[in-house]
């Protein structure tokens, strides 16, 4: 026992040395507390809030709401699919005013909880498949096919080898919508420029392609990217959450030959180490959508109307080019700006069936 206490003491001593010896700060008040009786709650899916992907981005929306609106935050992380009903019940019991379930995996649990608790509002991210609209459930979905279309056009324009590649985490609509849009963007570039840039890793017509099978394994992401690179692709578009980081590692290891486009968030912010290989990112504005839904609920303006993030409402789009700003030809940039306008006006349309 003595030894054990000794060890503990040593550890604490080190910790305290590092911790320094400043003086006690005066009590300070933190941000806005205007709506602290309003409970804004969030339940993650099995990816957890630290998934560097859609759970994390959605959670940022909740944090922004806490900062800007002064609501009280409650969050429940799910470790597995088993936890959804339990976490949802716990949030109901915690007197939440609005609950934001993140991801289509929570659809069943959301439907059940929403129907049993008509007084609580729900805003579910990435799901709009309810048989009939539910009075207190607002779906938050994103037409990332549009923004990925732009990414595909950019990739086709920047490719030296005439081959670009993509892979997904799992064959689900929220993933394949990116791959569809990307492939269609490349096809559009070919049509406009009479070129023959090919996409490896995804075939939008047969809906078959390359997948890691999970969103966690960076090594599988790296393998898949390597596979694409071997086939000649010099621009990689990984749509696999954290597993996609493996794709960026493969790109970085190529020493400039291979570059990538990131998804969900601005990769130069969320995965800053790889900024040098990122042409741009296809962002999906879940944080903004979540904060807006909470804001509407706080202001009693909540409606169950579906929110679709598009290029037009800036719910999705391309992030800044960062390091590549100077390397992308001005002509290509202006073509992309024009294409964006055309997509918004409906002059150019995206065919992907995965679109909300």
């Amino acid at each position: 026992m003595k030894k054990y206490v000794g060890g503990l003491a040593a550890v604490s001593a080190i910790a305290l040395t590092i911790a320094g010896c400043g003086s006690k700060p005066a009590e300070e008040s933190s941000g806005s507390t205007a709506n602290k009786d309003f409970n804004a709650c969030m339940v993650s899916d099995s990816g957890g809030f630290d998934d560097k992907s859609f759970n994390q981005t959605s959670y940022k929306g909740l944090q922004d709401a806490v900062k800007d609106l002064g609501v009280t935050e409650k969050k429940a992380e799910s470790k597995s699919d088993n936890d959804y009903p339990t976490n949802m019940n716990a949030m109901v019991a915690a007197k939440c005013n609005i609950i934001v379930p993140v991801g289509f995996k929570l659809a069943d649990a959301t439907e059940k909880a929403a129907k049993a608790n008509s007084g609580i509002k729900f805003a579910i991210v990435d799901y709009n498949g309810f048989k009939a609209p539910i009075a207190n459930v607002k779906p938050l979905v994103f037409n990332t096919a549009q923004s990925s279309f732009l990414a595909g056009y950019l990739a086709a324009g920047m490719s030296q080898s005439g081959k670009v590649g993509t892979f997904g985490g799992a064959q689900i609509p929220t993933v394949t919508i990116f791959m569809d849009g990307f492939a269609e963007g490349v096809a559009y570039y070919n049509k406009q420029k009479s070129k023959n840039v090919t996409v490896v890793g995804w075939d939008a017509t047969t809906q078959k392609g390359l997948f890691t099978g999970d969103f966690e394994s960076t090594s599988k992401g790296q393998q898949n990217a390597q596979n694409l690179i071997t086939q000649g692709a010099d621009i990689i578009f990984p749509v696999a959450g954290p597993a996609g980081i493996g794709g960026l590692q493969a790109a970085k290891a190529s020493g400039g030959k291979v570059n990538a486009i990131w998804v969900d968030t601005d990769g130069c912010v969320s995965a800053a180490d790889y900024c040098s290989v990122l042409l741009t990112s296809v962002f999906k504005g879940m944080d903004v959508a979540v904060e807006d839904a909470i804001k509407a609920a706080v202001e009693n303006k909540f409606s169950n109307e579906e929110y679709v993030g598009t290029l037009a409402n800036n719910g999705t789009g391309l992030s800044p080019y960062h390091d590549w700003d100077s390397k992308i030809p001005a002509e290509l940039k202006s073509e992309i700006d024009q294409l964006k306008k055309d997509l918004i006006d409906g002059k150019v349309t995206v065919a992907s069936k995965a679109q909300p």
Binding site: L16, N82, P85, A90, D108, K112, A170, Q171
Partner: protein, 396 residues
């Protein structure tokens, strides 16, 4: 590892042997391991707590702040854990619900362990059992009672096939069960992922991998107003069956004999291959039963995450339960309570959910290293027998 620990067993006892029976010694070691794990967990809570962090920046100005913040953080977290696990009817029901598949999965690992096999494949067996049970549950439409029974039997058969295959391969070809079960886990998970994209399994109108919810006739009846269901009773029945099988039946005697010494068993005229096959068949059936408890009990359709990590957690449950049916039930209950309490703890004190995973892992770490626990808690008597078995490893 083996060379470090085995000579210790040969030495004459350093300490006088205590009068305690073997099971009491094991229980004491397990309890001490739990206490130690809670201590480790407390350190982690303190390190991770924001208030403690900010108070420690002026530790020497007001050391009391840091200490009280640390004590509050640990106290609040463990209180929430306790309340979430056993503080009332609902939490207890939730704990038992969470424990249900862990008990069955733990039995699947325990039974194989007693036969000298390390069954890493509970996950795969559970998944196949869940596939069978769910399919019967939503694709067939049968009357009340019969539907549930057939769905459960289907799940048990599914698991038994997946497990029995391993036993058969081991018996016939000597293929190592650890390798085979790990590989079959992958086959099962990818089989499930593929099935969920076919029209036979995918819910109409959905594009993501999810099955229809099983008919209400095929669901385990709820035992109370919450999620606790009949599957829990089945888990206890399964534990009683395994106890009977191991301790009272001729087959069980053969299994244990083969587990203790396959060569001697063979010399004594027992068929080692037959014992391996039977053990894995029954183990698979038990894991399959755990699979039915996931899809027929807890409100869940078949998804690619239906097994969560139950099959792998089962290994730790079996380790903590020392390979005995009673121990496995108790360990399963403890892990179920930790899971249920963990959800409450993150809700109330924002302690990360993974802390309960750490607690579970540390408990097993200490249980698997009894010598370490004994060196910390000097009063613990020396264990006979089982320590050596655990140290020897599985299927040496």
């Amino acid at each position: 590892m083996t060379t470090d620990t085995e000579p210790v067993v040969e030495k004459p006892p350093v300490r006088r042997r205590s009068g305690l029976p073997g099971w009491a010694v094991q229980a004491l070691v397990s309890l001490s391991a739990i206490v130690l794990a809670l201590v480790v967990g407390a350190v982690l809570i303190i390190i991770g707590d924001e208030k403690v962090k900010s108070a420690s920046s002026y530790f020497f100005a007001a050391p009391g702040d840091t200490i009280s913040a640390a004590l509050t953080a640990v106290g609040d977290a463990y209180q929430a854990l306790l309340v979430g696990a056993v503080g009332g009817l609902n939490p207890i029901a939730e704990s038992l619900t969470q424990a249900t598949p862990l008990i069955c999965g733990g039995l699947a690992v325990s039974l194989a362990f007693r036969t000298g096999l390390f069954n890493i494949g509970a996950q795969g067996q559970l998944i196949v059992g869940a596939i069978f049970a769910a399919w019967v549950g939503f694709a067939w439409h049968l009357p009340v009672g019969i539907h549930l029974i057939i769905a459960v039997i289907a799940g048990i058969i599914g698991g038994a096939i997946w497990g029995g295959l391993v036993g058969l391969l081991k018996a016939r070809t000597g293929a190592h069960e650890v390798i085979v079960t790990i590989m079959l886990n992958y086959v099962a998970i990818y089989l499930l992922q593929w099935l969920l994209t076919t029209s036979a399994f995918q819910r109409p109108g959905r594009t993501d991998p999810i099955s229809p919810i099983v008919d209400s006739n095929a669901q385990y009846p709820q035992l109370s107003g919450n999620r606790l269901h009949l599957g829990f009773v089945l888990a206890l029945v399964a534990a009683a069956f395994v106890w009977w099988l191991l301790n009272r039946s001729t087959v069980g005697f053969e299994l244990r004999a083969v587990g203790a010494n396959p060569d001697a068993s063979r010399t004594a005229g027992m068929s080692v291959g037959r014992a391996y096959t039977i053990a894995m068949l029954v183990a698979g059936a038990l894991a399959g039963l755990a699979g039915t408890q996931q899809v027929l009990g807890t409100d869940l359709p078949l998804t690619d995450g239906v097994a969560a990590s139950v099959g792998f957690d089962s290994i730790t449950v079996a380790l903590l339960g020392r390979g005995t049916p009673v121990g496995t039930v108790l360990a399963g209950l403890l892990f179920g309570a930790l899971n249920a309490g963990g959800l409450q703890m993150q809700l109330q004190t924002q302690t990360a959910l993974t802390l309960t995973t750490v607690l579970q892992a540390v408990i097993v770490l200490f249980v698997a290293a009894p010598a370490l626990v004994r060196s910390i808690f000097r009063f613990l008597p020396r264990e006979r027998g089982l320590g050596a078995v655990l140290a020897k490893g599985w299927n040496g």
